[in-house]
């Protein structure tokens, strides 16, 4: 195997990254409106999975409730986009103490969703510190299960079971873009920004602290890392990411109700992040692609009969998921790492 010197290896990685971004940038030109929409969803899931990867992959905390945090972001966007006027128009009467404006540009609600959901995540992370493993799984599971019922209960704000209809997406600021293209670039624009944020966090002290906690909490504490602070931070960051994803989803679908973020979404997000590869940002794209396209494949599997799939697309999905875990348990990123590792042996220099 050829051993590449480290700087060259870094250059290769950067080129790959630039190439990926370039491809994403021009993809819409080659696709019809429907595919653009599908890839917008890939972008949305990408953001959600980045967050989940930080939580589960880097800080080692399991979450079965990531979909619920997406839901929170979605509701924030829906409620703020409609504003008090919009809600009243639909027959809801939100209490006056909630700071609702008169309706906002959807794009502007995205950072608000980021902050609000992040805060909720932090608030959740604090008591969750005492829980680990199974108990934490249950706690996050409880959040996922409770979101639909809580949303239905406080229907004066959330629209209850009937949900909230957002205005159909429109390209703002007079840009010469079709609405689907605008949504695509909005989603991937956010994805690019959040990818950089995630990358910086992971490279920085925070990321090292997370990894040390994941690999051995006792040793981390002995080294002066405060698990409480960093674990809570991980929850905050990952939910903030989920909030953005949910916000973008609400804008894309133009409708939010308790059924749009069911428990199954949280479970599928977890499955996708493992398939992509935990503890690595590059595998996330694979997870996002799988999450968007595997259900579609399951309904029309080319290798299996059409009528079979009509009755049991779940069978195809479940079996494929299991097979993927057999084949690449470390996720796709893990597979790539194993291929690439022999290529990166450090070249001995004179000074060694």
């Amino acid at each position: 195997m050829i051993a590449l010197p480290r700087p060259l290896y870094t250059a290769v990685k950067l080129t790959a990254l630039a190439a990926a971004v370039a491809i994403l940038a021009v993809l819409p030109r080659f696709m019809g409106e429907f595919r653009v929409g599908q890839f917008t969803f890939v972008g949305i899931y990408f953001i959600a999975l980045l967050g989940l990867n930080i939580l589960t992959g880097y800080s080692g905390q399991i979450s079965l409730g990531h979909g619920a945090f997406m839901g929170i972001g979605a509701y924030v966007t829906a409620v703020l986009t409609l504003g008090r006027k919009g809600l009243v128009l639909f027959g809801h009467h939100p209490p006056s103490w909630i700071p609702l404006g008169d309706g906002m540009r959807p794009t502007l609600t995205i950072p608000i969703a980021f902050v609000v959901t992040g805060i909720v995540g932090l608030l959740f992370g604090m008591p969750a510190l005492r829980l680990a493993g199974v108990s934490l799984a249950l706690a996050t599971f409880a959040v996922a299960v409770s979101l639909p019922t809580v949303a239905k209960r406080f229907d004066d704000v959330t629209g209850g079971g009937g949900g909230l209809s957002l205005p159909l997406p429109e390209t703002p600021f007079g840009l010469h873009l079709s609405a689907p293209h605008w949504l695509y670039y909005e989603a991937w624009g956010c994805a690019a920004i959040l990818f950089v944020v995630a990358w910086l966090l992971v490279r920085a002290r925070v990321g090292r602290a997370w990894r040390s906690i994941r690999d051995g909490e006792l040793a981390a504490t002995a080294s002066g890392v405060s698990p409480a602070l960093y674990k809570t931070l991980a929850f905050g960051v990952s939910s903030a990411f989920a909030g953005v994803a949910g916000s973008l989803l609400a804008i894309q679908v133009a409708f939010v109700n308790p059924d749009t973020f069911p428990l199954s979404l949280s479970i599928l997000l977890l499955a996708s992040v493992v398939v992509g590869g935990l503890g690595s940002l590059s595998g996330v794209i694979v997870g996002a692609l799988m999450l968007e396209f595997l259900p579609v494949y399951a309904q029309h599997p080319p290798l299996v009969g059409q009528s079979f799939s009509k009755q049991a697309p779940g069978v195809v999905f479940g079996v494929v998921l299991i097979l993927i875990m057999f084949a690449v348990p470390a996720g796709v990123a893990g597979l790539l790492r194993r291929i690439v590792r022999p290529l990166t042996k450090p070249v001995p220099t004179v000074s060694d």
């Binding site: 108990s135 706690a139 409770s146 239905k152 049991a312 697309p313 999905f317 479940g318 998921l321 057999f326």
Partner: protein, 293 residues
Amino acid sequence: MAELLQQIVSGLASGAIYASLALALVLIYRSTDVINFAQGEMATFTTYTAWSLMHHGMSYWPAFALTLAIAFAGGVAVERVVIRPVERRPELVIVIVTIGLLLTINATIGWIWGADVKAFDSPFPNNTWDVHGVTISIQDVGTLGVCLFTVLLLWGFFRFTTVGLAMRAVAINPNASRLLAVRVGWMLALGWGLAAVLGAVAGMMAAPTVFLDPSMMLVILIYAFAAAVLGGIDSPVGAVVGGLTLGVLINLLSRYVDFVGTELRLPTALAVLLVVLIIRPQGLFGHRAVRRV
């Protein structure tokens, strides 16, 4: 007063169902260190199998026994075929595999038996007792009885039999167990087989009240999971106490706390649970893992 007692009695009845499935979860966790998300679906599948047997003329007890045998074989098969390839992998990978299993089995049930609700026979007579204004159904008493009996069996199994001891050893330290000539692979398969049997029992006890429906156990799994963790994920006694407590708690909360009503029953009960877990992270009867540096 009679109403309060009635709510408690009903809570115990539903709690017994949660506890029954929780026992299966605890057994798998105790023997293989894994949360099996597919436990509910496996239970549903075996219950549907029992239904098919009875539908084709078999009477209750032979069908019951045959179903338990099928469940055992099925559990062992699942462990050997689906779990074994990923046994040594990180816990999360095994969890994802059980999720895949959940999706597969759930879809298969709908495909084979359809989505229409079906009635399921019960070995207990369909009568009720009236005790000072509180109605107690024999079915519920029977379910509770079976549940308690199962806990007793499990406790005895783990405490007093060689096989039970071997299973516990394998869960704590598979490598050391191997050195002691314990067939680790078969212990794991046995764990899954027994858990599948427990699941089948849970399903057949629940089905007369809850009726057969492909998503029958999906909802109960939520409660069973909560009950198991509340009781201490490695304690069978805890699972039962957890289940019964959860059942009663939900009823009392929804009846007597207006804010909760019937809408926020489940979230509130889960919130209470989590408060308990924050105070006592290992659950009511669980064992605290003390890490010595």
